[in-house]
Subunit: 330 residues, 2 copies
DNA sequence: TTGTAGGCGTTATCAG
DNA sequence: CTGATAACGCCTACAA
C-alpha cells in the first residue's frame, strides 16, 4: 500500500506538500499537478486510521438504534446515510436491541474510536450520553426525547395521538380504542394521552378498558386487537400508535374480516399486503427524520452550530389509504 | 481522556506492562493487579484508533449490502451483528443501493480503514473485491455467488426454484407461472431455471408467457401479477421468487380476492398482513445466512481458515402458511 | 518478566 | 509557499 512518503518522493516534494494537496490548502500550481500525478500513478489513498489518530476524530458517525429490523429505523438510517455520504462520512450502524447496557457499550466505542459524531434513539437513560454532550462531542438524539441539553429531533407525540384520533372521530366513529406501547415508553404514553385529550374535547368516552398497553411489536398489536374484539362492548374503531402494532392489528382484521371496524395507524407500512383503503394513516416518514438529524449532526461536527436545538419533525396529514409512492422501498 | 501512560504512571509500571495486561500476556500477578486498579480509577479504555494504526487492522468489519431497507438484508445484518458482537467486532453497515460505483467506494474505504474484514452481497462484479482477496484480506461473499476464489455463503438457487415449484405442483396446480427478477440478476435467473426444470420433469407446460421478469421489488411483483391475471389463459398458480415480489403479488391478490389462485413465495415475509394460509412459503431465514457468513469471516480474520470455502446455506422445507414464530421480528 | 524506544501514516507547527 | 519534524496513542522488538 502506497504511503504519503512514496507520493512525496515520486513527486519530488515533501510529505507536507502532499498533505496540503490532499486537504485543499494553497500549493503552487505546478507542484500540485506533480503531486496529483504521483497520487494517480501509485493509486494512493490516505490511510484513514492514521489520519484519525492525528486529527483526533474520524470520518465515521455512529447511528445507535434500538431495533434495526423495524422498518421505521431502517428508513431513518437510510436518510442518515444519504446525508452522511454527501458530507463524506461513513455510518456505523449499532443495534442496541432496546438494551441500555448494549447502548452504553456502543456509545463507549463511539467515544473510544473518536468518531466524528453520534446519532442515537435512546433505549432508556444514559450516563454516557450526558458525558458525551458535556464533553462537547457532536451528538444528536432522535425519535425519543431526553431531558438533557442536546440537539434533538423528535415528533410531537401528543399531537400525533390527537390528530390520528381526530381523523377517526371525523369519520363518525364514536367508540374509539387505543393500542399503544408499554407505560415505560414515553412516546407510547404521549400518543395515548393525545388520544385521551382529543376524545375528551370531542365529547366522546375514553374508558380505560379501551386503552391497551402492549409491547410495541407485531405480536403486541395482534394480542391487543384480539382482546378488544372480545370485549362485551367492542370499540367501533381502533387507533394503533406505531407501525408494528398497526401491522398486528391489520393481521387480525384481515383474518376476521371485520369490515366495519375503523382503524387508524400512526406510522408507515412499507410491506403491508392487505388493502388499507379504509385505514386512516398518519405517516411519519422516518427517512425525513434521518435527514434532519444527520444535517444537524453535520453542522455540529463542522462547528457551525450554536446552542442545542430541539426540532419537532413535521409529518404528513392523516389520510385514508396509503398513497402509492410510500409503498415499496425506494 | 486517560492514556496508557497515565495508567502506567499511576500503577508505577511501564506502558509496556500496561499493554501486556490489556492484551492478556504474562505479567506478574501483583503488577497486573495494580494496573487493573489504575485502569479502573481512571476509567481508561484503549484508544482504538491508535491501536488500529499500530496493529495494521481495526476491530471493525464492513457489511456491504445492496438494500438496507429490504428485510432480507436487515435480518442478515442482524445475524452478522450477533456473531460480531461475540467476537468483539463492530459492524459498519454500508448501503450500495445496487450501484457498483458505490460498492467500489465502500470497499475502498474498508481497505483504507484497515478494517478487519468485509462481508459483501455483491451488486455486480468488482475489481476491488478481487484485489482484496488477492491481498489476503478477510472477505466473505454472501447471497450472490461470484466466480472468484473466495469464501462464499449462498443458496442453491436452482434448487430453491425447483422445490418451490414442486410444492405448487404437488398441491395440484397445473399452470404455474413464475415471477422473477431481471435477467441480469443471476439469482433471479437460477430460480426461474429451477421452475423451468421442475415443470419439465413433472410433465407440465412452461410457456414463456408464464415467465415474467420484473424488478425484484414490491412494485415489480404488483406489475407482474396484474399482467398475469389479464392473460387470455391466466395461470392457476404463481411462484414469486423473492420476498418483495411476493409482497407485491399478495397485494394484488388480496385486493382482487382471487381465492383460487395458488401462490408460492421464496423468501420471508415479516410484515405481511393478509392471511398466508394458502401460500406455499420457502423461508430462507437470512439471519442464519448472516450467522454463517460472520462465523466464516471471524475464522478467516483469526487465521484459522485454510483455502476458500463455498457454503450452500440450508433453508426451511416449503410449508403452507407462515409459522407463528417467523412473523414479527424477534 | 520488565522497561526502553522506535515506528505505524498522517497532520500541524514552525522556521526558512 | 515549502520543508523538516514533532506529535497523535499504542504495541513490540530488543535489551536488561
Amino acid at each position: 500500500m502506497a504511503r504519503i512518503v512514496d507520493v512525496a518522493a515520486l513527486a519530488g516534494v515533501s510529505t507536507a506538500t502532499v498533505s496540503r494537496v490532499l486537504n485543499g490548502k494553497a500549493v503552487r500550481a505546478d507542484l500540485e499537478k506533480a503531486v496529483r500525478k504521483a497520487i494517480d500513478e501509485l493509486g494512493y489513498t490516505p490511510n484513514r486510521t492514521a489520519r484519525s489518530l492525528r486529527r483526533q476524530h474520524s470520518e465515521v458517525i455512529a447511528l445507535v438504534l434500538p431495533d434495526i429490523e423495524n422498518p421505521f429505523f431502517t428508513s431513518l438510517a437510510r436518510g442518515v446515510e444519504d446525508i452522511a455520504q454527501e458530507a463524506g462520512l461513513s455510518v456505523v450502524l449499532c443495534n442496541t436491541d432496546e438494551d441500555p447496557d448494549k447502548q452504553e457499550r456502543y456509545l463507549r466505542i463511539a467515544d473510544d474510536e473518536n468518531m466524528a459524531g453520534v446519532i442515537v434513539a435512546p433505549a432508556g437513560p444514559s450516563a454516557l450520553l450526558r458525558h458525551l454532550t458535556e464533553r462537547e462531542r457532536a451528538v444528536v438524539v432522535v425519535d425519543r426525547a431526553v431531558p438533557d441539553d442536546v440537539d434533538q429531533v423528535t415528533f410531537d407525540n401528543l399531537e400525533l395521538g390527537r390528530r390520528a384520533t381526530r381523523a377517526l372521530a371525523e369519520r363518525g366513529f364514536r367508540r374509539i380504542a387505543c393500542v399503544t406501547g408499554p407505560e415505560s415508553t414515553p412516546t407510547a404514553v404521549a400518543r395515548a394521552q393525545g388520544w385521551r385529550e382529543e376524545l375528551a374535547e370531542a365529547g366522546l368516552p375514553a374508558p380505560e378498558d379501551l386503552l391497551v398497553h402492549v409491547n410495541f411489536r407485531v405480536d403486541g398489536g395482534e394480542d391487543a386487537m384480539t382482546r378488544l374484539l372480545e370485549l362485551a362492548t367492542p370499540p367501533d374503531a381502533v387507533l394503533a400508535t406505531n407501525n408494528l402494532v398497526g401491522v398486528g392489528a391489520l393481521r387480525v382484521l384481515s383474518a376476521t374480516d371485520q369490515v366495519d371496524l375503523g382503524l387508524g395507524i400512526i406510522g408507515d407500512l412499507p410491506f403491508v399486503t392487505s388493502p388499507v383503503d379504509n385505514v386512516s394513516l398518519l405517516q411519519l416518514r422516518p427517512r425525513e427524520m434521518g435527514l434532519s438529524a444527520a444535517r444537524m449532526l453535520v453542522q455540529r461536527i463542522r462547528g457551525e452550530a450554536g446552542p442545542a436545538r430541539q426540532i419537532v419533525q413535521p409529518t404528513q396529514p392523516v389520510r385514508l389509504g396509503a398513497p402509492r409512492e410510500s409503498g415499496p422501498a425506494r
